[in-house]
Assembly symmetry: C2
Homo-oligomer: 121 residues x 2
DNA sequence: AATATATATGAACATATAAACATATATAAA
DNA sequence: TTTATATATGTTTATATGTTCATATATATT
């Protein structure tokens, strides 16, 4: 309705540090890139998925083994693996009626390890 | 009810690779550690928070500047900063009635950068 | 061909959580 | 000490999403 008052619940008329605000506005990531990044990190922000990522970072596994090791239903495992696939976190390999999954690249293992070290401090 | 059939929706009676299953079960992180790790990564898995993390990784900022730069309400900004504080992602510095926030350590910047590089491939 | 089994997936449901709104707190300025 | 302002927070509501259940698909085995 009113461009200047779109968000009322913010610091009043006066911008605190106009120079800093202007400078940083130019350095912002695009909304699209920020969104993609948050969606990517969302993958790691779920207990079931992080457990799957952990075991897959140890070795390639079939769906049944993953679900048995982690005590997760086949359906839930498969649903989560689909998400991991879609975001390029895990990659599938088909062998007969079995599907084997592994971590798709070293970036993923780095992020996992980095986070694990951080919370272990 | 039935220990052996707690989860029916999994591979049938036969475990596919008993040796692998037994080996990996021993290498599992504790449930607590996995949970903490997923909660930690959850911080990065939200558009608003990842945008706050981005600007804070550029420089220390007061709440009002953050909300102005990102066009987020003061309330929403403060709520998210509370979460970032609680998980040791951002640290506050008080100066009069102003609160300045900055990224609490290099681990956070690494994870952010690592993720950004990954999605940029 | 019929059956068994490993995996995938659509839909429903329950839960988690981010944003808005209202209001409280704390400090500065008058 | 009264007012203004920067930040914090409790509550409500809307939305997102993980799990379950039922079922489909694909391959192997008989």
């Amino acid at each position: 309705m009113n461009g200047e008052n779109e968000i009322l619940d913010r610091c009043e008329e006066t911008i605190i540090h106009p120079d800093i605000v202007e400078k940083l506005k130019k350095e912002l990531l695009t909304e699209q890139k920020s969104y993609n990044l948050s969606e990517f990190f969302k993958i790691f922000g779920d207990l079931t998925r992080i457990r799957i990522i952990q075991v897959l970072s140890l070795q390639e596994l079939c769906v049944c083994d993953i679900s048995t090791i982690l005590n997760i239903s086949q359906s839930a495992t498969s649903h989560q693996l689909k998400i991991l696939r879609q975001f390029g976190v895990a990659k599938p390999r088909k062998d007969g009626k079995m599907m084997y999954y592994s971590i798709s690249d070293e970036h993923i293992k780095s992020i996992f390890t980095n986070g694990l070290e951080h919370i272990s401090e």
